[in-house]
Every structure is written in C-alpha cells, then in structure tokens.
C-alpha cells in the first residue's frame, strides 16, 4: 500500500496571528512554525495502516524553506520519505493553487491512499482535500473518524451533523481524518535520529507540472481588500456568586432582551 500524507506548516496555535499590512498575507515569520495539529492525526493513521498492511508512507508538504522542519517531524514519527514543494512563486497561493500543486505532485506516483488533516489551523478553510479529490477525479472519503482497509476497498465513517455515514470506495482514494480517529504518537529519540537520513525530494512549481504564473498572490482568484483588528471587546461584568449568581445572570439576560 503506497500512502501519501499531506501536511502543512502553520504558526503555533498559541501564537497571536496577524496579517502583514504590506500584502495582507499571514505573517509567518513572527511565530514559530509547527506541524498543523490536525495533520498529526493523518500521519498517525497512515502509520497505523502501514503497520497493518505494509507499504510506504510519503509526506508531502508545500511551503517555504523552513517547512522542511515539519516534514522532518512527520518522518521522525515514522514516515519513510518526504516531498517538499518550495518555490518563491508560491507565496500568497490560495487554496485553489495549493490544491493544483499538490494534485500535480500526487498524480503519477501511484499512491493508493492520499491522507489529509481535516483543516489547517491557520487558513481554516477545510477545502484542500475536496479540491484535490476533484482535481484528481478520485473518490472523496473526507472527515473520517474511522478508516478500514480491506484489499482495494476503503471504508470510512464520515462524521456528519447527526452522527456518521459509512462510505465505501475503491483505491486510489483521497481521505481526510478528524481528530477523534486516533492518538498521534510522539517521535522517539531513535525516530528523530533516523529522520535525518530519510530521503527528501525538493520540487519546484515547474516540477509539479504547474505553471508558475498560475500560483501565488498574483494568480489568486480572491483577494483581501482590507483588514483591521477587531475593536477590543469592552470588559464584561464579573461578579462573585454570593448566593444569587443565577438570578443576576437572569437579570442580565432580561436587560438584554434575551429572556
């Protein structure tokens, strides 16, 4: 089973995120970059499937120079090889461009399973997996809370508003996983050492088979017109419960015509 896992480097969850005034892009330099938390579950699921069914796990990430740290982290968890798409032309790419580049790289490499996280914690669009599925014409098994592999048949439980749907498809497939699916492992010391020697391929946009003019800020099909910090919220009223806390909330709600 050949498995690809797409991972993204994002600013640390706890870091204050802001847009750069000059170009309205996320300021990625000011915060430490980490492996998108939700993508750790994707890596873990790939490793579990590999343990049960054999095969190879390749990490794929598009991002600046330092995104290589993120690929190393996934390799230190146990993945076998990495592909890093890095190119100045990519700066400011929207989800459409990102999905085009990822699809270009994933296309002819014979992957049976392509696994994603369900959302990047910075963009929070939750669209890249569906877009890659559309571009590659592969069945979409997204928002999986459970993945079963049975030969060439892949079955998932797709999380829905009301519970879940069971969904079945034949490989190759695109999968995205939700955080409920597993408990990601921590890299061991041995894993960290081994990761340094694992093969890492570095590709340009052209290597991905995508025209440089169709990615990056200039090619984005939506643009930020302007942005502003939300005006700070006026401090609320905080009271200690001295026996009438519930009544006080009710009064507050009544004043604001909620009840």
């Amino acid at each position: 089973m050949k498995i690809a896992v797409c991972v993204k480097q994002v600013p640390d969850t706890w870091a204050e995120k802001r847009l750069r005034p000059a170009d309205s892009l996320l300021d990625r330099e000011s915060a430490e970059g980490v492996l998108n938390e939700l993508d750790e579950y994707a890596v873990e699921e790939a490793l579990k499937i590999q343990e049960a069914h054999g095969g190879e796990v390749t990490i794929v990430s598009m991002g600046p120079e330092r995104a290589v740290e993120t690929i190393r982290k996934a390799l230190s968890m146990g993945a076998d090889a990495g592909i890093h798409i890095v190119d100045d032309a990519l700066s400011g790419s929207d989800a459409l461009a990102t999905s085009a580049v990822l699809a270009g790289v994933l296309k002819d490499r014979g992957f049976d399973l392509i696994i994603f996280g369900s959302e990047s914690t910075d963009a929070r669009m939750s669209v890249v997996p569906a877009m890659v599925s559309e571009r590659l014409g592969l069945p979409q098994l997204t928002f999986a809370q459970k993945v079963d592999v049975n030969g060439g048949t892949i079955t998932i439980e797709r999380q829905t508003d009301y519970g879940f749907d069971s969904v079945e498809a034949s490989s190759p497939v695109v999968v995205s996983v939700v955080e409920k699916i597993n408990e990601p492992r921590y890299p061991s010391f041995k894993g960290i050492m081994a990761a340094k020697k694992k093969p890492l391929e570095t590709l340009s946009v052209a290597d991905a088979g995508v025209a440089a003019g169709s990615v990056g800020t200039g090619a984005a099909w939506s643009v930020v017109a302007d942005f502003a910090a939300r005006p700070p919220k006026a401090a609320g009223t905080i009271v200690n419960d001295e026996g009438a806390g519930g009544v006080k909330i009710a009064e507050f709600l009544a004043t604001n015509k909620i009840i």
Binding site: L19, M125, E179, A229, G245, G246, I259
Partner: protein
Amino acid sequence: MAPILVVVEHADGVVKKVTLELLTLARSLGEPAAVWLGPGYGDAAASQLAEYGAGTAYVVDNSDMVDFVVAPKTEALAAVVKQASPAAILIASSAEGKEIAGRLAIKIESGVITDAVAIAPDLTATQSVFGGSTIVHSTVTHGIPIITVRPNSTAPEAAATALSRVDVEVPVSEGARGAKVTGRTAATKASRPELSEAAIVVSGGRGVGGPEGFGVIESLADSLGAAVGASRAATDAGWYPHQYQVGQTGKTVSPQLYVANGISGAIQHRAGMQTSKMIVVVNKDSEAPIFELADFGVVGDLFAVVPQLTDEVQKRKG
C-alpha cells in the same frame, strides 16, 4: 437582473434555518433563486422558500445526490450555474457546504471565499479570522463569486414571493459516483435546535464533572430553547456525544448568546465560539481565561448557579 443562487440545506423535506438566513442575505444582493439537490422537494419546502423570497427553485431530484459523497452535488450545481448564470452563489458554511464550494470553484473556474459573516451589495465578503481577532474584507476577482456563509450571520426575515419550480436533469458521471454511502448512523436525535444553527448555545466542560452533570446543562438549555454544546474535555471523556463539541475540531458557532459552564477557555475552544454575539460565563476559578470573553460572568459553582438560573428563567417566562 442576474440571480443570486442559494444552495438549500434540507433534512426530511424541510428547509433548514441557515438557508432562510442565506435567502434573506441574498435579497440584499439581488434576486434569490434556490437550488435543491436530492430527493424530498415538496409543498413544505416550496412554501418555505417562497416565504423567504426565492423566485425560482432549481430542483435536481436525483438520489445520487445523497447516495454518493459530494461529487454528484457539485456536478449538479455546476449544471444549474450554467443554466442560471448567477451573479453569485451562496452556500452554508457547513463541513459539506465548504467541500461543495471548493469543488465547484475548480469546475466553474471561480474564486471562493469561506466563512463569510456578511456580504455587501458589491459582493465584498466580511470574514472574522484568527479566532475573531481580525476582520477581513475579501472579494472574488475571477469568475462567479462562490461564498460560504456562517450560520447566524443574518436574522431570517420573510418576504413572500411567487415561486416557480425548474427541474434540472443532470446525468451524474461515473467518476462522481466513487464514494458510495452504504449506511447512515444517527446518534441520539435530540429535540433541541441544531448546534450550529441555534440562537442560544449552553455548553458544559470538564467542570460539569461527569455525564450526569450534563443534566443541569440540558435543563438550562431547555428553559432557554437552546442547543447544548460541550468542550473537548467533556466529549473526550465520553460525557457528551462528540457531535456536540464546540471548537477548532468541533462545530463553529456564533449564536446570539453562548453560555460557557465549567469551561476554562482554551484557545481551541475559543476558536469555535469567540464570535458569539453575547457570552455568559460560569466558572469557579476567577482566573479562567474564558472570563476575558465574558459580557457577564459569575465566579461560582455551576451546580449552584446554573439550576438557580434555570428556575429564574422559568419564573420569568411565567
């Protein structure tokens, strides 16, 4: 005037509240037309759509829409877009809504904006990003703007019109029928409003102490006609079903009122509720970061405060 297409979210033949919000919003942008994907379109749906101002309902009554994941819906929607030549396409910002939007963007070669909280008449979208700390205005510069809109962004207002039904036949391609739905499992269906759509959400966290503790949370929710939410600490512990989780990896809610009980306010929880219009907090630790978001907060034991509040709400309702 070019229509504004609104993709209908529906269950059991009934139009969901978020769609009525989108129709209301669409009326400020142009002439709303509804797109119904899947079986179940009938008189109930037609009268709801007419009441909220849809002049046309494009109906794709084809069970492939629900028997296979997302791809058939996108093909059908692309066919409707071709027929209707809309000025914009509005879709609810649900998990599946965003997937449809993303795939459609590729199909019709148009830009897509997700999670809008408002749209101006010139189709500039307002988004609230980074957990609500930054307000962004964005526009689509290529193709027909595809915008997904968060539930509770607009108050639904009726404005009745005459509705005409247009049936659209879409032969779904073999390639779009790759991911087959073989079963649906409903976790306990509550009689409460749906979490992402509810005007009021009452949530419980680790402070609730166990599954029984959610009793006081549910009682308060019922007195207010609210949905129940939970922090991940509570859902992970199995105290409350996972689909009620609010936060980064759960639902994003922005109700009129959010009541956080026994929740500390971790960044991942805030990401899902920070844009609520009004926030009330009950927590026994005055240092809990959730108080930073509170419009009104009580430092105290939720098992004393919440039942008292429930009683008081009942009393005032008479």
